[in-house]
């Protein structure tokens, strides 16, 4: 075992949006702080035009190597284990690389709504008809506690949105105006209008035009968002590159291909560092790094697994796991794709954009909360022929033109809130994946109320399709992919309910924080990353204002907050 004994002020595990936002905000206030970020995966070239064109013509994602493999089957060895009744695919659900999962995310940037923070209290009043055994809690913070950080997160990520939209209360405008509705939104908007269903502009992480100097170019509506050639869609990899290129933070470093194995404890209440494997040095030998504070920002799944692996005399069941809560209460969002047939497409609608511009949060309401709230999105590729494909199939122009305005399939998608069940959990498997991390076992069951909820949602979607003049509504697929895996180290009022407190600090450990979707108390109906980023900025604020100054004072200015270098 090799030890690198130069002490760090802060170790951040994981280089995704959570880690990147925390690092940036702490460095802005403490530019000389010694912060080391450890990232299990490697780096990939961003903003490269040849890779963009390759993606355009082949659909190959240049970062595919950093995805999990599919579960094992009869023919392939695969990775990870699915043990429960409902399979949560991990392949495609995250990126284990420099910059993490925002390198491939969609950028839908929603706020939760005030009622989401009081799930248990509100549901207790209305949910007698649910038959599942749910383990619900309220958040230990309220919407208004987080609201200023939502504003900050929208600016940090660069969200284009409608500042007059009152879906969630806001105290500041979005940094950039909303993208107008596309013509493809017309059928669904008109249908929703006729049914009295509310809808709004999609808040989306795409930089807009700005008069002030910015390292982030505006979106050019190029439509290859899974690999943006400009960096107009937030990706933590670009921001980390920028921190290192344009700012002078002498003690900030990122070590890639360095996977944290476990946390080291000095006593029950104090972490002193991490054991990790640095593949640049040795594929197997364990290295050690020491730090004053450790922040786990390794994504929901790996942050939980690192705690579970950190078993020692002080925490025999794993760090923070005396109450057997780490890794439990796992949830994600089922993503429902509904399809119907439209007899004609007189406007010749075809996909013009690669991100949606319209969303309905009508059913993401207090009234729907006890059944499972949901949002409806009009996906950008929902309608019309795929021109390139038709031409590549050798079809002549007149046939393509007829197809363009003729019968077409169209889709509406929905994200649904589900509730935590204690037995839904994840854990470590001893086998290692191709990145070098221990694989994951997922034990998940969708629960007894889900089918009923799906049927209710399908009824509402069918009304919308019918109002569009479409028929034959069917649920094409349900994706349970673990993209939004959450709640496995929940933030709670006390250690009997959760793993971290309202400041994301692990209960009973004074210097360990967990910032990932695992720390959500519940997930709501919307994509989590704006909320995660708000929590990250709130944590950085807490560390800047309360933790670092206190630790400096306690140590009589001898500790390693490298302010005076």
């Amino acid at each position: 075992m090799t030890s690198n004994n130069t002490p760090n002020d802060i170790l951040i595990i994981g280089s995704g949006v959570a880690g990147a936002a925390i690092a940036q905000k702490i460095l802005e206030q403490h530019p000389n702080a010694k912060i080391t970020m450890l990232e299990a995966g490697g780096k990939m070239k961003m903003r490269d035009f040849a890779l963009h064109q390759d993606y355009l013509v082949t659909g190959n994602m240049p970062y595919d190597y950093y995805h999990d493999f599919a579960y094992p089957n009869r023919d392939t060895a695969g990775e990870n284990e699915s043990l429960g009744k409902t399979m949560l695919p991990m392949q495609g659900s995250r990126l284990l690389m420099y910059g993490g999962s925002t390198v491939h995310w969609g950028g839908w940037s929603f706020r939760l709504k005030p009622e989401d923070f009081e799930l248990k209290t509100r549901i207790a009043k209305t949910s007698q008809h649910l038959s599942g055994n749910y383990d619900l809690i309220d958040w230990p913070i309220s919407y208004s506690d987080l609201e200023p950080f939502y504003c900050e997160a929208e600016h940090y990520i660069g969200v284009s949105g409608d500042s007059n939209d009152t879906t969630s209360p806001r105290s500041a405008a979005y940094p950039y105006p909303a993208f107008p509705y596309t013509l493809e939104d017309k059928p669904s908007i008109e249908a929703m209008q006729s049914l009295g269903i509310k809808y709004s502009h999609m808040p989306i992480a795409r930089h807009g035009l700005t008069a002030s100097e910015s390292t982030h170019p505006p979106c050019q509506t190029t439509g290859t968002c899974k690999y943006c050639p400009f960096g107009a869609r937030y990706a933590a990899a670009n921001y980390l590159d920028d921190i290192q290129t344009f700012y002078d933070y002498p003690n900030f470093s990122i070590i890639t291909n360095a996977a944290v194995e476990s946390l080291i404890m000095t006593n029950k209440h104090k972490v002193s560092g991490v054991h990790y494997i640095d593949k640049n040095i040795d594929q197997h030998a364990t290295q050690t790094l020491h730090a004053d504070l450790v922040i786990l920002a390794a994504g929901a799944i790996e942050s939980s697994k690192i705690l579970l692996r950190s078993q020692n005399d002080f925490w025999p069941k794993g760090l923070g796991n005396d109450k057997d809560l780490v890794g439990r209460n796992l949830i994600t969002h089922p993503y429902l794709m509904f399809e119907a047939e439209l007899p004609e497409n007189p406007l010749g609608l075809i996909p013009e954009m690669d991100f949606p511009t319209m969303v309905s949060r009508h059913f993401d309401s207090p009234e729907e909360q006890s059944e499972g709230k949901y949002i409806i999105v009009n996906p950008p590729s929902s309608i019309g022929v795929k021109l390139a494909q038709e031409m590549q199939n050798g079809k002549p122009l007149n046939v393509i033109r007829d197809e363009l305005t003729g019968k077409t399939k169209l889709q509406l998608h929905a994200l649904v809130e589900i509730f935590s069940q204690r037995d839904n959990r994840l854990s470590n498997v001893s086998k290692r994946n191709h990145i070098g991390l221990q694989e994951t076992a997922i034990n998940f069951d969708q629960g007894p109320d889900f089918e009923v909820r799906i049927a209710q949602i399908q009824t509402e979607i069918d009304k919308i399709f019918t109002a569009m003049g479409a028929h034959n509504t069917k649920l094409k697929t349900i994706s349970w992919r673990a993209d939004h895996a959450a709640c496995t180290t929940r933030m709670a009022h006390s250690s009997s309910e959760g793993v971290v407190d309202k400041n994301l600090k692990v209960f009973d450990v004074e210097n360990l924080f967990i910032c990932s979707n695992s720390s959500f108390s519940s997930l709501g109906a919307v994509n989590p990353t704006l909320t995660l980023t708000s929590l990250a900025l709130r944590l950085a604020h807490h560390i800047n204002e309360n933790v670092l100054p206190n630790r400096q004072a306690e140590a009589g200015n001898n500790i390693a907050i490298h302010e005076a270098n």
Partner: protein, 169 residues
């Protein structure tokens, strides 16, 4: 001689300093192929720059995978033969439309020319503006500029009852 070290340059494809030059005949034949795609499907040809966009595209494909050098030479050769057989324009159209060029896996020279080259050129043709003849204002791959108020870079739906729809949310 420049002796600066380059071995640790971050690069996702082989690092080749000199430009990737194809011979003039191959490039001209590829340009004819792209032009034929525009003609056959009556796509809107950009007023300028299409030829240089093709060159950059081909160089980028070869950067990522040097096999494209051979794919382009193969496609040029196939087009020459087809043109001899069917006549100049019709030969290229045969490549674009013949079912035998679509057989998978692509293990004839004809099929390689279609599946590795002309299919990609179709996507390129649409993405540099060809899609406009189908009535759209934007398409995947087309760099159509930012979200400027009143000048949306794609066809929009003006939602006059927008304000009503948001009430009570």
């Amino acid at each position: 001689m420049d002796t600066s070290e380059t071995y640790d340059i971050e690069t996702p494809y082989p690092y080749i300093e000199e430009s990737l030059n194809l011979d003039a005949d191959t490039f001209e034949t590829m340009w004819q192929l792209l032009s034929c795609i525009f003609d056959y499907w009556e796509l809107a040809m950009p007023t300028s720059g299409a030829k240089s966009q093709l060159l950059v595209f081909m160089q980028n494909r070869m950067k990522i995978n040097l096999n494209y050098y051979a794919e382009y030479k193969n496609a040029a050769c196939v087009i020459h033969e087809l043109n001899q057989k069917f006549g100049k324009h019709n030969g290229t159209i045969h490549l674009l439309t013949s079912p035998e060029a679509a057989i998978k896996p692509a293990n004839t020279r004809l099929a390689r020319a279609r599946q590795m080259v002309s299919n990609e050129f179709i996507t390129l043709a649409l993405s540099i503006g060809g899609f406009k003849s189908f009535g759209a204002k934007n398409a995947l791959g087309y760099i159509n500029g930012g979200n400027v108020e009143g000048k949306a870079p794609y066809r929009i739906f003006s939602d006059h009852t927008d304000e009503d729809s948001k009430k009570d949310i």
